[in-house]
């Protein structure tokens, strides 16, 4: 690397660190009560005039204020006309793993190699990322930080977005292993004179076989004495004892069908399909195997010329209609910065036919269930973590997604960001002119 470039990047990194991030909020010490708001529970129900009490980081009461009379506790936040939502969850994201798309030095999203279950996203997660911080004013408060690349990309962890460091941030460490299922189509090796277009992948069977072999070897290793340590094989243990989920990134009908047969063959119980562009075609199979889908971002263009113009908008609805458990994920081009638009992606699904509260589930309770977080997150129900926010209006519509308060485990977090700071700074500049 040329010195010039090196200095350039060094400069970039220094700059990034020169702005202080928002300071994480302290642990909740006092109870508080939110009164009068429309509570969107996240399980499909709405309470028009609610009372919600938070104690020790948990929701202790969430009820209809008109029918349930409970004594308010601690500070009372009067929220008439406002809306409360459970914190939105962004699964399958690289937030905190890269700060600036074009600056390689900031990139910690992928490792070389093919079978990388031992690669763990959590330790690279930058809790002080300015991009992560920008999620919060839109209500996105939790993310599944997921590595990319390879056949098995690595192991993800689930974090909350108001933390000093990655240990602080972690909600669920090493929750799942991510597998990129072989593509049905592959690109010609143009440098060998083959046509560069996508044609049926001749190596598909071989690639699936490599996976079979890797799983079988992992199992054999784990059954053995493990005298000679193998990091890759041992990292697979959670899949077999059910403590970790296998997230299979697959889009087409055939790939999903093959992937499910593969997991059944190897006795992998906890499986999620990520992407699932054609998942609705195998809805019965998904239901039979109780496999949830993290559906590809709705803000995307249809893959094929013939596809309905609104196909990506309604993909999640097609799955919900058939009784499949489905959440929304946002991987793809500019995935980190645009993760804050997750609520509007859910709103877009509602525009194209899904009930609004069902659409809300795509980024709250359904995702929590898929990630195995539903005991503590995803709805505004008693006993769950007080990770929630208050919005001036409908949080799935950009005009009214205006947050006044946000809480993570009952801690009231700052809604300021690098961006709001600049906004204020320059607004003030012009005011004083």
């Amino acid at each position: 690397m040329k010195l010039y470039n090196y200095l350039h990047i060094l400069f970039a990194v220094c700059c990034l660190n020169s702005f202080a991030q928002q300071t994480p909020a302290n642990k909740q010490t006092e109870a508080f009560t939110i009164v009068g708001a429309t509570a969107h529970i996240g399980n499909g129900t709405v309470i028009d005039n609610s009372v919600l009490i938070v104690e020790d980081g948990k929701i202790s009461v969430c009820a209809d204020a008109r029918t349930t009379k409970v004594p308010y506790k601690g500070t009372v936040i009067q929220a008439d006309g406002k809306h409360i939502y459970p914190g939105f969850i962004a699964p399958n994201t690289t937030l905190g793993l890269q700060e600036i798309g074009a600056v390689r030095a900031t990139n910690d999203t992928r490792e070389i190699g093919t079978m990388n279950p031992h690669i763990r996203s959590l330790i690279a997660y930058n809790a002080e990322s300015k991009v992560v911080e920008s999620m919060r004013p839109n209500g996105v408060l939790i993310g599944q930080i997921t590595p990319r690349g390879g056949r098995i990309s690595g192991t993800s962890s689930i974090v909350q977005f108001d933390a000093w460091n990655w240990e602080d941030a972690a909600i669920k460490v090493d929750d799942g292993i991510h597998l990129n299922w072989p593509n049905s189509f592959s690109r010609g090796r143009w440098w060998l004179g083959e046509p560069s277009g996508l044609t049926p992948n001749k190596n598909y069977a071989t690639q699936v076989d490599e996976l079979n072999s890797f799983i079988s070897n992992s199992k054999a290793y784990l059954n053995g004495s493990q005298d000679t340590k193998n990091l890759q094989f041992s990292a697979m243990n959670g899949l077999f004892n059910g403590s970790q989920k296998l997230f299979i990134h697959a889009d087409d009908e055939k790939a999903i069908t093959d992937a499910i047969a593969f997991t059944n063959k190897h006795g992998i119980k906890e499986v999620v399909i990520v992407g699932g562009y054609e998942a609705y075609k195998v809805a019965e199979l998904l239901k039979k195997n109780t496999i949830g889908v993290l559906a590809r971002r709705s803000h995307t263009t249809p893959e094929r010329e013939d596809d309905d113009y609104d196909y990506p908008y309604k993909l999640a609805k097609l799955l919900v209609d058939q009784g499949v458990l489905v959440g929304l994920e946002n991987s793809g081009s500019m995935e980190r910065a645009n993760a804050r638009n997750l609520p509007f992606q859910a709103g877009t699904v509602a525009a194209h036919g899904l009930d609004k509260e069902e659409a809300l589930k795509l980024i709250t309770s359904n995702t929590a269930k898929i990630l195995g977080l539903d005991k503590q997150l995803g709805t505004l129900e008693t006993g769950k973590d007080a990770t929630l926010f208050i919005s001036e209006g409908d949080a799935l519509d950009m005009r009214t997604n205006i947050l006044t308060h946000a809480f993570i485990n009952g801690r009231e977090i700052s809604l300021d960001t690098h961006q709001t700071n600049l906004w204020k700074r320059y607004s003030n500049k012009y005011k004083s002119n």
Binding site: A12, C15, L16, E99, I100, G101, A102, V103, K130, V131, S184, F185, G197, L198, T199, P200, D252, E253, K254, E278, H299, T300, T301, P302, E303, R304, E305, D306, D308, Y309, D310, M334, R336, A337, N338, R340, N341, F344, G347, T348, A350, A351, H352, K356, L396, D397, M398, R399, T400, N401, I402, Q419, T420, L422, W423, Y426, S427, Y430, N433
Partner: protein, 981 residues
């Protein structure tokens, strides 16, 4: 099998001869009793063709045959002029790309003393690279060709071609008919040089225009230095100019360039002309058409087949009808073997075109008279008129019938035998007895290459046959499978239908044998016909639509008079948002806005509960273009996106579904000075030229920052590499353009330079700049440079740090067209904030929100809504960010951008509030024509399902009939962005 009679060739009279006595042959050859196609339309039955010295002497029914004539009786046979291919690379090897070369782009040329651009190679002459290729010549003769025009298929200007007769005997002195027969051109670069420019189709087009200017300048003697390429170009000017376009859309582009440089090109098409035949016809160009019809896809795996689009399947279904459609439209065309592997493909596909309805006379013209006339050689080639070269085919009958045998291909009076006329046809069934066993033998196939099968009872025996010079050799296995033993049979074929000869037993014994021919010949023939028919496909051609893909129109939609009743109307004018209001559109304009309007004859749409707005306008789009960046130079003002608008892009339809009606297709951001824009309306179904706004202000893209200094990839040799350099580049170009403009206005001769013309238009306030920009320093800089040269920047696009200098922007008078919330993708967008639009707007800057993205552009209503969230802009103003304000920035607000009586009826009917996340566009109307309608879209979904199954069934049928298939290809939609090449 090939006999060449060299004696008919002319000896080269001035050459000394030391190997014998002089043997000049002055005999005539007369072909009698033949059906003679003197031309495709002048046909003589039972006539005589008389030739001498390689030329036709006469044809007719009463030709006097001189005494010194060799007479060939062709009773029952036909004579056709042999075929001509004028787009060939016969005997000229395509150059290979030299190995190596750095990863950093090369901006300069390799050559000295030639044009500055290595891809302009008019000085190349095919003749200097020509080496007669006997094998290919044989294959071409087999397909019926006698003469080809060959050239070096490399470069944008490729130099001259040569006309070559495909004689096997003699030498190049006999073969080369014309060593400078045409000049060839294309849009593709030479492989001999890595020089970057042009990296795009629009760059190739610009290069050809500039070359024309430079050649004129040179011809007038103004050039100070010697340029051998331009000299060659000028010398080639009067030749026929043959341009390889390669596709229907490029045919139109070639013709456009041709019109501008006063050249009518002969254009090599793509075989897809049928998709918009009227446009192709309007070029008045003669075409050269390849016959490369696609094979069916192998659709046997339904999973894989599901990725096929209707447009690719239609290509297979419709393309064989192209020659018929071109012919029916009276567009003159020649055929070429270009893109085909060999004579077999050519003959098969030619027959296929005829099966699909191509008239045989037109087909023959396309292979004879038309190519001859294109080259200006109608007197000597393409017909059997007196004095023409004796280039002709002798056939057993109709040359376009599958069962016809091509016997001989005569070129310049020299015979090439393809299939001996003397071969006795032995096909039929025979019975013979050997050693007490009776055998049945069946002979089929072509007369000279028969196939044989031998049976004993029902048992089929292994059989091998050869037939040569009247000798039949047959070997067949014995009935005992356990042994490896053969019977061998030889027979000299005579005029007697029965065969007799001898048979050699496995043990070496011999005996005579007699093969009795049965009389069932006629039955066999009809069987064969039947099995031949089996291979034929049903030709159910699906309808062509505009554009020719799943969402195209079968007939273009018409302008309507429409009355919207009781809508919520977002006027974008002083009236603001009107509830329960009627809007009447008529003659493509907004005719009336008010309460209780009279419908008259208008179509009434009940818009109660719905919202009617002006169509969305995207200031920064890269959809609907085949290239976006000309990255070969740091200034590319000479290129224009108008050259490369793609009317068939599915993203147009998808944008309409998002309520978008007008867009500016901007050049990319590869260069500080980019290319000119195309401002278009999304009139789905119309052709590219009808999309482009006429008589509107002109625009050019500029760019600043990381992209133009090439920060994010391996390129270190191009100026500028820093923002400091960017400023100086502008000062340099503007200064030069000033000087250019001064020279131009002085009345003295000046070298016409498109790039300088365009930059001078900026200085003369005739062209506006939309500048890609991010950080405040560079934004400030460009305003200062503009002020120094006494003009204003019109628009900063992206302008992500506009909020930091909004006051300066206001003062300068520049508008800002920004992203709603993009950031963090590059270092220079580190300080991008979603409040940018609000702050600029609050400071009085005309502010728009744009997409730069094919996905986001179909949700620009949502992007506008984000300004309500980020910075609290009022809904009415936020809505203007994607309608009226971009119209103002593009200077088209006199026509579009608001609902005002007299403006264009470019309107969208929304299911609800236009900025609600829950709303969708129900109808998108441009100038009173409904281009998107949710109801029609629903209908199309059913049609797609039906047509897909129909086409897949046809492809299954093709595979079952044993026709060739190819693997499925998954098409990828290339979404172009600023950074796209």
């Amino acid at each position: 099998m090939m006999f060449v009679m060299s004696f008919t060739l002319l000896a080269q009279e001035h050459f000394p001869k030391n190997d014998g006595v002089s043997n000049e042959n002055t005999n005539y050859t007369a072909f009698t009793n033949a059906k003679i196609f003197v031309t495709p339309t002048q046909i003589i039955d039972n006539g005589t063709l008389l030739i001498k010295d390689g030329k036709v002497v006469s044809t007719g029914t009463s030709v006097t045959i001189p005494k010194n004539a060799v007479v060939v009786d062709l009773s029952g046979k036909s004579i056709y002029p042999s075929f001509i291919d004028i787009y060939s690379d016969f005997g000229v090897e395509k150059p290979k790309r030299p190995q190596g070369g750095g990863r950093s782009p090369q901006y300069d040329s390799n050559r000295e003393g030639f044009y500055w651009n290595d891809h302009v190679r008019p000085e190349q002459n095919a003749i200097e690279h020509f080496k007669f290729d006997g094998k290919s010549a044989g294959d071409l003769r087999k397909a019926g060709f006698g003469v080809v025009n060959t050239h070096l298929q490399d470069g944008i200007v490729r130099g001259t071609g040569s006309l070559v007769a495909l004689l096997d005997s003699g030498n190049d002195a006999d073969r080369i008919l014309d060593s400078r027969s045409a000049q060839y051109l294309s849009f593709s670069k030479s492989v001999k040089s890595n020089q970057s420019y042009p990296t795009s189709l629009m760059g190739s087009m610009a290069l050809l225009r500039q070359l024309h200017n430079d050649a004129n300048w040179y011809a007038k003697g103004y050039s100070k230095s010697k340029d051998r390429a331009i000299e060659a170009y000028n010398a080639n000017k009067n030749l026929v100019q043959i341009f390889d376009a390669g596709s229907r859309v490029n045919v139109l582009r070639v013709d456009k360039v041709g019109d501008e440089i006063n050249t009518q090109f002969v254009i090599v098409g793509g075989g897809d002309e049928y998709e918009r035949i009227d446009n192709v016809k309007a070029t008045n160009a003669k075409l050269i058409l390849p016959l490369d019809f696609p094979d069916a896809y192998d659709v046997s795996d339904p999973f894989l087949a599901s990725v096929l689009d209707i447009s690719s399947m239609r290509e297979w279904n419709q393309k064989p009808a192209n020659p018929k459609i071109v012919a029916d439209n009276n567009i003159p065309f020649a055929f070429t073997m270009h893109k085909l592997k060999g004579s077999k493909d050519f003959s098969d596909n030619l027959m296929k075109a005829i099966d699909y309805g191509l008239d045989k006379t037109k087909a023959l013209e396309a292979l004879t008279t038309v190519p001859a006339s294109i080259l200006g050689k109608s007197n000597s080639l393409g017909s059997l008129k007196n004095g023409a070269y004796a280039n002709f085919l002798i056939t057993s009958g109709d040359v376009f019938n599958k069962n016809t045998t091509l016997y001989e291909n005569w070129i310049k009076g020299s015979k090439h035998v393809l299939e001996s006329m003397d071969v006795k046809d032995i096909s039929g069934d025979y019975t013979f007895t050997v050693g007490g066993n009776t055998y049945d033998m069946s002979i089929s196939g072509s007369p000279s290459k028969p196939k044989a099968s031998v049976k004993s009872g029902d048992k089929e025996l292994g059989t091998k046959v050869s037939y040569d010079n009247d000798w039949l050799n047959l070997a067949f296995t014995s009935t005992d499978d356990s042994k490896q033993e053969f019977f061998r049979l030889v027979s000299r074929v005579t005029d007697n239908p029965n065969l007799s000869g001898k048979i050699i037993f496995p043990n070496g014994n011999e005996s005579s044998v007699f093969l009795q021919k049965s009389n069932k010949e006629a039955d066999n023939k009809s069987d064969e016909m039947a099995s031949g028919k089996d291979k034929e496909m049903s030709k159910d051609i699906v309808p062509i639509t505009y554009p020719n893909n799943a969402y195209g129109f079968k007939t273009l939609p018409k302008q309507e008079t429409i009355l919207f009743k009781n809508a919520t109307v977002w006027t974008n004018e002083n009236d603001g948002i009107l509830e329960n209001t009627d809007v009447l559109i008529r003659d493509g304009k907004i005719a009336q806005i008010g309460q209780n309007l009279n419908a008259g004859g208008a179509k009434v749409i009940d818009a109660k509960g719905k919202h009617l707005t002006a169509g969305i306008i995207d200031e920064h789009s890269h959809i609907a273009a085949s290239s976006i960046n000309e990255a070969g130079q740091n200034s590319s003002a000479e290129v224009t996106i108008e050259d490369v608008v793609v009317a068939d892009d599915i993203d147009i339809y998808r944008n309409l579904a998002g309520g978008v009606t007008s867009i500016q297709i901007l050049h990319g951001s590869a260069n500080p000075i980019g290319g000119r824009s195309a401002i278009i309306k999304l009139k789905w179904g119309e052709d590219a030229s009808n999309l482009i706004y006429k008589n509107t202000p002109k625009f050019i893209k500029f760019a600043l920052g990381e992209n133009v200094k090439q920060s994010n990839w391996q390129s270190f040799s191009r100026f500028p590499q820093s923002r400091m350099g960017v400023e100086q580049l502008y000062v340099d170009y503007f200064t030069r353009a000033q000087e250019y403009d001064k020279a131009k206005k002085s009345g003295k001769p000046y070298r016409k330079d498109t790039e300088m013309e365009v930059i001078a238009e900026i200085l003369n306030k005739e062209r506006y700049i939309s500048c890609h920009s991010y950080v405040q320093s560079e934004i400030n800089m460009l305003m200062k440079v503009a002020e120094k040269f006494d003009f204003n920047i019109n628009t900063f696009t992206h302008i992500l740090e506009g909020y930091k200098v909004a006051d300066k922007m206001k003062e300068h008078g520049v508008g800002g067209s920004t992203f709603s919330d993009w950031w963090a993708y590059k270092y220079e967008v580190n300080d991008a904030i979603p409040y940018n639009a609000a702050i600029m707007h609050n400071q009085g800057v005309v502010t728009a929100i744009n997409s730069d993205d094919a996905e986001m552009s179909r949700r620009l209503n949502q992007e506008a809504a984000k300004s309500v969230k980020y910075g609290g802009v009022s809904e009415e103003d936020a809505w203007k960010f994607v309608t009226l304000n971009p119209a103002k920035l593009l200077h088209i607000d006199n026509r579009v951008g608001s609902l005002k009586v007299g403006k264009d009826a470019d309107v969208v009917l929304w299911s609800g509030h236009p900025m609600s996340i829950y709303s969708k566009a129900e109808k998108t109307i441009i100038e009173g024509v409904t281009y998107f309608d949710l109801e029609r879209d629903k209908q199309i979904r059913n049609d797609i399902k039906k047509e897909r199954s129909e086409l897949i069934a046809q492809m299954m049928e093709a595979k079952n009939k044993g026709l060739k298939t190819k693997p499925i290809e998954k098409k990828e939609k290339q979404h172009l962005h600023c950074d796209s090449e």
